[in-house]
């Protein structure tokens, strides 16, 4: 349901369907309005003051332009507001001229000619006013486009820069969707409000004040009458709006339930079919659908009533003004043109009031959005890097963990006291059941997370003494989630090292046994991987990441052997490539293959975050502990055990 879209106009960042705040002339009778969709319940910011302060930091550098926007919005409104009054003068002149003509005719005096000089002059003045108003309105909107888009540009940039400085811990606690929604939806929301609602608010308030002034100058009595209908209009809209927000909330809820069910049933259709539950699923759907229908028509009905209601209240005011004004005019207490002008003003009155009420909601939800953006920007960043950071000139690949203590959360310590010493060139196999902390070890090595005690040393240097980027270039990673991006194969491999040449890239691909399959692709190295990189196989992806690691030529390697979804032929290539890569480098391998494990200089057996056994394959087997258990169940096969074959 695009209730936001209906509220915000056709596309984010674009001025909505309804032309700005100014309306020309009266809007007689009024057709169905454009606020058809109406908004759902508005969210509220938790700390509005602080959030406004936050937004101000973005307004501040654009103070000058914003002043232009405000000034021209006000000017443009003023020039529009004068219109009806001047037209009223014309009408009066016309009417008076007509009367005197009749009088002269009846009294057989020479018939005076109509004062077209005055009429023409006034109308010309009016044309001038409208032209000015148009020009000002243009300047205002033109400037605002730059201001608002520039602001959200800055905001997006700030958030993205901030994300780069946040520790991985932050990303663990938030889903990607959540973070994305802040950078896109929330900022879009702010952008639309800035572009539309803010200037609308200015013009609306201006119009209200201006119209009120004009009305009073025409006739205080009529103004009083017009103002009496105002509370009625306000009261009615506010109540109905509240009601409609409630029913939109209900509709939104059912719609959510329906979407959820559809998504679940469609994505799980294999199961639904296999278990013969189609009937049940249709029954549930029909239930939710019926409830949705009920909520939806009510919501649409109530929102559809707002316009006629406003119209009726408007029309009552209109009729009363016509009648009272008519009587006053008949008694010569008011000029005809003034009635005409007054009617037009009273028509212009309710529109901005309704708009302001709506904008209040919009502003609220915008503030809520801004607050969410602000929250991101306020997150604690990574520990800043030392100014006099140590660099390792010729890395050899010596790694040491000394009494390392770590937990993803302060109150749940995973590693109590970890000690490892790895000599350059050694291969360390890490084994253990899922969730034992194998990836944690990797995370700490790369300093993706900060340890809470002890030290990690690379070539004798505390990793905290180094720049993160510097430290990480020492490592090469081939991980299970073989991350490739939407770009050509060449770019993906070249990611391993800045400024890599074509020759380097091809050499790396060859070393990774990837050159052959790449050349077999229709576009070769220029093949662009699509968003899910689904145009090459899982195994081929892994070969690319190996090529990337080869290109980066790291001192220390981190490999994840998981090959569950790779076919056997590619698997052979991957093994070969990995072997090649591991030669003469310190390697940490999250091992799944027996051969790797057996050939490793040291096996770290992890369980529940700590290393429970450490040593070579034969030693560990002889020990008959956890590793021996693991080994037997994994590599000899369960059935064999069972049957005692």
């Amino acid at each position: 349901m695009s209730d936001t879209a209906a509220r915000r106009g056709p596309a984010p960042g674009a001025p909505g369907g309804a032309p700005g705040g100014q309306r020309p002339m009266g809007r007689p009778g009024g057709g169905p309005g454009m606020m058809m969709g109406m908004s759902g319940p508005a969210e509220k910011p938790k700390d509005a003051k602080k959030t406004i302060g936050f937004l101000m930091t973005y307004f501040a550098p654009r103070r000058g332009k914003l002043t232009i926007v405000v000034v021209f919005a006000v000017l443009s409104t003023i020039f529009t507001i004068v219109g009806p009054k001047l037209m009223g003068h014309v009408t009066t002149k016309l009417y008076d001229g007509l009367i005197s003509k009749y009088m002269a005719y009846f009294l057989h005096k020479p018939v005076p000619s109509m004062d077209f000089n005055y009429i023409g002059g006034t109308l010309l003045l009016l044309v001038g006013f409208y032209l000015l108003s148009t020009l000002f309105s243009y300047i205002q909107q033109y400037t605002m486009a730059g201001v608002s888009q520039g602001m959200v540009y800055d905001m997006r940039k700030d958030v993205n820069d901030k994300l780069a400085r946040l520790p991985l811990k932050y990303f663990d606690s938030k889903t990607h969707g959540e973070i994305m929604s802040r950078v896109t939806n929330d900022i879009d929301n702010i952008s639309t409000t800035l572009q539309q609602s803010l200037t609308q608010l200015i013009t609306s308030v201006c119009t209200i004040v201006g119209v009120l002034v004009m009305m009073v100058t025409i006739s205080p009595w009529l103004t009083l009458i017009a103002l009496v209908t105002l509370p009625a209009a306000l009261f009615a809209t506010m109540n109905v709006t509240k009601l409609s927000q409630k029913s939109f909330g209900a509709q939104q809820k059912e719609l959510g339930a329906l979407n959820g069910h559809v998504e679940e049933m469609y994505t799980g259709h294999v199961i639904v079919k296999a278990f013969g539950r189609e009937g049940e699923s249709v029954r549930v759907f029909k239930d939710i659908n019926a409830r949705l229908f009920d909520a939806a028509w009510k919501a649409q009905f109530i929102s559809g009533v707002i316009m006629p209601m406003m119209n009726f209240i408007n029309n009552v005011g209109y009729v009363v003004i016509c009648v009272v004004g008519g009587i006053m005019a008949a008694r010569k207490a008011l000029k005809l043109g003034d009635i005409q002008a007054f009617i037009q003003y009273s028509r212009q009155f309710t529109q901005p009031i309704a708009q302001t009420a709506n904008i209040a909601n919009v502003l609220q939800s915008t503030l809520a959005s801004a607050e969410r953006v602000m929250e991101v920007l306020e997150e604690t960043e990574e520990i800043p890097e030392k100014a006099d950071a140590t660099t390792i000139e010729a890395p050899r690949g010596h790694v040491e963990f000394r009494h390392v203590r770590f937990g993803y959360k302060e109150d749940a310590i995973l590693m109590q006291d970890m000690n490892i010493k790895v000599e350059p060139g050694q291969t360390i196999a890490i084994v253990g059941p899922t969730g034992a902390g194998k990836t944690t070890l990797v995370n700490l090595l790369m300093r993706f997370y900060e340890i809470s005690g002890g030290t990690i040393l690379v070539d004798g240097v505390d990793t905290r003494e180094m720049r993160r980027g510097e430290l990480r270039t020492l490592f090469g990673m081939v991980l299970q989630d073989t991350w490739l991006f939407n770009g050509s194969i060449r770019e993906n491999i070249a990611y391993g090292r800045e400024g890599a040449t074509e020759v380097d890239i091809v050499a790396a691909a060859k070393a990774a046994h990837a050159d052959h399959f790449i050349r077999a692709l229709p576009e070769g190295y220029d093949t662009v991987l699509n968003e899910e990189a689904s145009n090459i196989s899982q195994g081929e992806k892994q070969l690319l990441t190996i090529a990337r690691a080869i290109l980066s030529d790291p001192a220390i390697l981190i490999l994840d052997e998981a090959t569950s979804s790779v076919d056997t032929r590619t698997e052979v290539y991957i093994q070969k490539a990995m072997k090649e890569l591991m030669r003469n480098r310190t390697s940490f391998v999250i091992a799944h293959r027996l051969s790797t494990i057996r050939d490793a200089e040291s096996i770290l057996v992890m369980k529940d975050g700590s290393i429970i056994e450490m040593g070579r394959h034969v030693e560990l087997l002889a020990k008959g502990g956890f590793y021996a258990d693991l080994y037997n169940s994994q590599f000899t096969g369960a059935y064999v055990d069972e049957q005692g074959v």
Partner: protein, 576 residues
């Protein structure tokens, strides 16, 4: 779009009523200015206060009538538009429920979801707007023109001159604006893409120390978006004030030329004022109508997508007279020269596959990715129909059986463990309607799920979130196995269903399964040799063909493909 209107049929009477009511509402709107001009011409000019009061009363009545009509129209139109949407949704969902996997593949699951939800919403909103606006805009326009002309035919040319001018502005907005809107959407997609890649690849980016490059990529996308957004907004900054000016200028023109006519005595002031209002009504209806035309293409696109779904005929349907297999035969699976290819594929996924499995036997299927293992499994519950050959379950061709009947004999554990939102018990109990707690508990026990279930906050009543995101991969697989177990089927299909389990759990689970389902027919798809090597029969698939069939020993002796697979996974001593 038009085709979807058949869903409005049950609402024919309300829809007709909406039109009638909207007509009256327009009439009342059109009548008001005329009454006002009467007030001016007869009341004010003659100082006839009773006439003014009387006309005022009439105006109130007319206004009230108009509003009542509008409320009725709102009630009827929302009822019928939303009702139509509900009917349409029901139909789509029911229809999609009959789809076979082939249709799901063809349209794509996410797309089907959007078509059932967003697209329908889109259509029903436009139907609603159409009922409220499409009807009223032409009436107001034509009515406005008639009234305006009747008030002062001599002034009509002003309107005739303005309409094309305004239309030109609107057309410019549409022609220039739409490509820009589309461009904006593209730029937003681009930003989302960069951002998502930055999030999913955050470890890699940081590991390769490429944070600054990513920043630059984002910067480029961000700058692009800003540039286009500013362009759009500046376009509107020109066009909207111009539109306003055209309208304002029209009023001035009417007053100028009107005054001349009044002076000449060809018209009067009241008529001129009424004319002014009618002119505005006409221009506003024009605006309304043009907004409709902006909305229509979007709804049209949705309608086309919906019709595509409704027009898709499910490939797999129940036979008219389904056969029931012999009660005495339970758990017999036979493939007879089965060949199968996916639609649009150049090479068949399975070619001439024949084998048979009996109760109490374990048949394992192994082969590289894309060799057709999962395809073979999915043919048994008739998710797809074979191209040639036949598959017999308990002696009956699967195409001659009712799908329900067939599938009730099968316990499937798919490659990707799918759970539904609801309790743990509900998920396991999904396997058989109203399975009692004991069965669920037993199945969970066998699937090695009891331990983690009891650790959950509410045990068997713990809620599983949509997509099972609050349980781990291994836990999902175990629940999905328990779900199949609870059905106590004749035939078990395990499609690589143990991959997320750690070896100890894996071992315990297999041991338990041996005991519990020893007398059923079991088909297992596996990747690891260790998981298949002790099956009664191993089928080695290679590019859709059977490359070998037999026990581990036989195959290792005779089958080259099998040997390669083994060599890649086990060391010499284990093979021996």
């Amino acid at each position: 779009m038009l085709r979807l209107f058949r869903y409005l049929k049950p609402y024919a009477i309300p829809v007709a009523a909406v039109m009638a009511v909207v007509f009256f509402q327009c009439m009342s709107d059109l009548y008001l200015p005329t009454l006002m001009s009467d007030v001016v011409n007869k009341g004010i000019t003659n100082g006839d206060i009773p006439f003014i009061l009387q006309t005022g009363g009439l105006m109130l009545l007319v206004a009230l009538g108009g509003s009542v009509c509008a409320v009725i129209a709102s009630y009827l139109s929302s009822h019928s538009a939303m009702g139509m949407g509900a009917l349409l949704r029901d139909d789509i969902f029911t229809h999609v429920s009959d789809f076979s996997l082939h249709e799901f593949d063809k349209i794509g699951t996410p797309s089907l979801v959007t078509r059932t939800t967003n697209d329908v919403t889109q259509v029903q909103m436009v139907v609603l707007l159409m009922m409220r606006m499409m009807v009223s805009a032409p009436i107001m326009m034509i009515g406005g023109i008639i009234m305006a002309v009747s008030k002062d035919p001599g002034l009509s040319w002003v309107i005739v001159a303005v309409i094309p001018l305004l239309t030109a502005v609107i057309v410019t907005v549409a022609v220039k604006g739409f490509p820009l809107f589309r461009a904006i959407q593209k730029k937003i997609d681009k930003i989302n893409l960069v951002l998502r890649e930055g999030l999913t690849g955050i470890r890699v980016i940081r590991a390769f120390n490429r944070v600054d490059d990513e920043k630059r990529r984002f910067e480029d996308a961000n700058l692009d978006l800003m540039t286009v957004s500013i362009q759009v907004n500046r376009l509107f900054a020109v066009l909207i004030p111009i539109m306003m000016f055209v309208m304002n200028f029209t009023t001035i023109a009417i007053i100028w030329f009107g005054s001349k006519r009044v002076d000449r005595g060809t018209s009067n002031v009241g008529n001129m004022m009424a004319f002014l209002q009618y002119a505005m009504q006409i221009l506003f209806s024009l605006l309304m109508a043009s907004f409709m035309f902006i909305m229509l293409p979007r709804a049209q696109a949705s309608a086309i997508r919906i019709n595509e779904v409704l027009d898709t005929v499910p490939e797999i349907t129940d036979p008219e007279e389904p056969r029931r297999p012999d009660e005495a035969k339970k758990g017999y699976v036979e493939f007879r020269n089965v060949s199968f290819s996916y639609h649009g594929a150049e090479v068949p996924a399975l070619m001439d596959v024949s084998f048979s499995a009996k109760p109490g036997e374990v048949t394992a299927i192994i082969g590289s990715t894309g060799s057709g293992k999962s395809t073979l499994i999915s043919l048994i519950p008739r998710f797809y129909d074979v191209d040639s050959g036949s598959i017999l379950i308990d002696g009956v061709d699967v195409r001659d059986m009712a799908q329900d009947e067939l599938r009730s004999r099968i316990g499937l554990v798919p490659q990707r463990a799918v759970l539904f939102s609801g309790s743990v018990e509900g998920n396991i109990g999904y396997g058989c309607d109203g399975a009692c707690r004991d069965d669920v508990a037993e199945a969970a026990e066998t699937a090695q799920a009891t331990e983690f279930i009891s650790e959950m906050k509410d045990g068997y009543d713990s809620e599983i979130s949509q997509g099972g995101t609050n349980v781990s991969g291994g836990q999902k697989q175990r629940l999905s196995i328990a779900r199949a177990l609870v059905r106590k089927p004749e035939i078990y299909l395990f499609d690589d269903s143990f991959s997320a389990l750690d070896f100890k759990t894996d071992a315990r689970l297999r041991a338990a399964l041996r005991v519990k389902i020893g007398d059923a027919t079991v088909l297992i798809v596996g990747q690891r040799v260790a998981t298949v090597m002790d099956a009664d029969r191993i089928i080695v698939l290679d590019e859709g063909k059977i490359a070998g069939m037999g026990t581990h020993r036989e195959l290792y002796r005779d089958c080259q493909v099998y040997k390669e697979i083994v060599a890649s996974q086990l060391s010499e001593e284990e093979i021996a």
